[in-house]
């Protein structure tokens, strides 16, 4: 599976120095949680991995983000290829105002489908249907929507919509999936479903999740990174971070909440 090596990454939004020389390597097939107080740059960090920060005017990025040996900020790298292999799920569910089927089929339709020996061809109707079914099952949503695939995605509940977004990301067969506080807008039951899903996804994908919910990080994450005011304070096994953090700042943050 793919791992991500971030080497002295710096990010500025106009004058505001959002991330200060971050160095971290995230291993494959595990869930890494990124925690920290609001405004510490954790969302900025995750949006660097699939270059979503390019959309923001006045954003300047320096340093390397090496995914599978290739720095995604190289000149000749086509950003479309990066985003094809790195899925992202946002804080507020943002399904397209289309049917459930169309939401998931959209990305495979524009990228085409890659078969075993790596060449890409236009997805046939049959392949799309299979892919949609596979994605929905993988996102544990299939049973709830299998007989209304042509209905609008807006009729789904918040939790269902978020799982639809996950299915939509899975449909392009990414290697890595980024979650930017996926459950902050959801109720506890929907949140629990998403957390079980994350643990299941760990086997096939490298998962990064930004969360301000410490218990969630404790429950799902193998590794945890703690950011504070744009600096990576500490990074290690989740158990070690929560039980005996090495850094003073980490302990204050953890105990401030735990106590």
């Amino acid at each position: 599976m793919s791992d991500i090596a971030v080497q002295d990454l710096n990010v500025w939004f106009d004058k505001n120095h959002a991330l200060k020389n971050v160095n971290i390597t995230v291993g494959g097939n595990q869930i890494t949680a990124i925690i920290g107080p609001s405004g510490c740059g954790k969302s900025t960090f995750i949006r660097c991995i699939n270059r979503m920060n390019d959309l923001i005017a006045g954003c300047k990025v320096e340093g390397k983000v090496i995914v599978d040996g290739k720095d995604i900020y190289d000149k000749d790298v086509d950003v479309v290829d990066i985003r094809k292999s790195i899925g992202m799920v946002f804080q507020k569910p943002n399904p397209f105002p289309k049917s459930i089927f169309e939401n998931i089929a959209y990305a495979p339709r524009i990228h085409g489908v890659t078969d075993e020996d790596g060449n890409v061809h236009k997805a046939s109707k049959q392949e799309l249907a299979e892919l949609v079914e596979w994605s929905l099952k993988r996102a544990a949503l299939w049973d709830e929507v299998k007989d209304r695939l042509d209905k609008s995605a807006y009729n789904l509940s918040g939790g269902q919509q978020q799982r639809l977004c996950i299915a939509r990301a899975l449909a392009i067969k990414p290697e890595i999936i980024l979650f930017d506080e996926p459950c902050s807008a959801l109720d506890p039951i929907a949140t629990a479903k998403i957390e079980d899903l994350l643990i299941d996804l760990k086997n096939d994908y490298t998962v990064l999740i930004v969360t301000h919910n410490m218990q969630q990080a404790g429950r799902v994450a193998d590794k945890t990174a703690y950011f504070y005011l744009g600096d990576l304070i500490e990074y290690g096994e989740t158990k070690q971070i929560f039980e005996n953090p090495k850094q003073e700042l980490t302990e204050q943050y953890i105990t401030g909440r735990m106590g």
């Binding site: 793919s2 599978d68 290739k70 292999s85 990228h111 085409g112 890659t114």
Partner: protein, 303 residues
């Protein structure tokens, strides 16, 4: 391994197509950019020959407008006063009535009434100005004749009244948007303190929406200044220099519509008319700028 799997040509094809579409959209943007700038350049270019060798102060304050004939005089003050009087009197009527209707529409009217009133306002806004001119020339002028016994049936008051009617829909639509964008919690906070709906309106909502209301007033005045057909048919178009609202006047727009067919291309009269066009352009541009600035500041406050 992140498989950058797509084949070389597929990516290459997509790049070409992407570039092509961006180019096409850029072309459309450039067309509209260039056309609109070229038109302004043409307006400026054709008024320079007049402005360069005529005393601009005399042009702006001269009291005789006679661009043709053997001894032409290019004084646009009577025309300027015509526009001013017609717009001011129209605003005196349109602003109170427009605001009253806006507040009724957005704060008092029940949903059913609102569903009737909103289309009425939209249709009023959609009626072409020539039809307002027809009504002013044939009906409104007779009523004014009966009530005010003016010297001439067609006069500035006739023009002002019909312009007021044309200003109201613009004022209502812009001002209503301003009132609606005042956050709900502001209204609830005031009501929660026991204020009556009128006090809530007077003390929280209207002051909060004031910039939007000011912008609505300015925009509707801009429309009144720029109106041509209705004023030509309603005001009698005399070029006399007077402030008497019951006398006939000729606003700047009417002067353009009446004199341009007569002007020979390249004659001083032709260039003087472009100078009048430029004056009109500057007035409406200034009004729009102020309205835009006020609206922008207002939008920032609430978004």
């Amino acid at each position: 391994m992140v498989a950058l799997k797509s084949k070389k040509n597929n990516r290459y094809m997509r790049k070409i197509f992407e570039g092509g579409m961006t180019g096409l959209l850029l072309a459309c943007a450039l067309v509209s950019v260039l056309v609109l700038l070229m038109v302004f350049m043409f307006l400026l270019g054709n008024s320079l020959p007049f402005l360069q060798n005529n005393d601009i102060w005399q042009f702006l304050t001269g009291t005789h407008w006679l661009p043709f004939g053997d001894f032409p005089s290019y004084g646009i003050l009577p025309l300027f006063v015509g526009t001013l009087m017609v717009t001011l009197v129209a605003s005196l009527i349109a602003i109170p009535v427009g605001l009253g209707a806006t507040i009724y529409l957005s704060e008092i009217a029940s949903p059913q009434v609102r569903n009737v009133l909103k289309p009425v306002i939209e249709i009023l806004a959609g009626i072409p100005s020539v039809i307002y001119g027809l009504f002013a020339a044939l009906v409104l002028s007779d009523w004014i004749m009966v009530i005010f016994e003016p010297n001439t049936r067609l006069n500035a008051l006739n023009g002002a009244l019909i312009l007021a009617v044309m200003m109201i829909p613009i004022m209502v639509s812009v001002a209503e948007e301003a009132l609606n964008s005042v956050p709900r919690n502001l209204r609830e906070a005031s009501l929660a303190l026991g204020a009556t709906r009128w006090e809530t309106l007077k003390m929280t909502i209207v002051p909060a929406a004031l910039p939007g209301i000011v912008a609505a007033i300015i925009l509707s005045m801009g429309r009144a200044v720029g109106e041509t057909m209705a004023v030509i048919m309603a005001t009698g178009n005399s070029t006399q220099f007077t402030f008497n609202i019951l006398a006939s006047m000729r606003p700047l727009t009417a002067a353009l519509a009446i004199d341009v067919p007569e002007a020979t291309v390249g004659s001083m009269a032709y260039y003087s008319l472009f100078a009048v066009g430029l004056v009109l352009f500057i007035i409406t541009f200034a009004l729009n700028l102020v309205a835009e600035y006020v609206l922008a500041r207002f939008k920032e406050a609430y978004h």
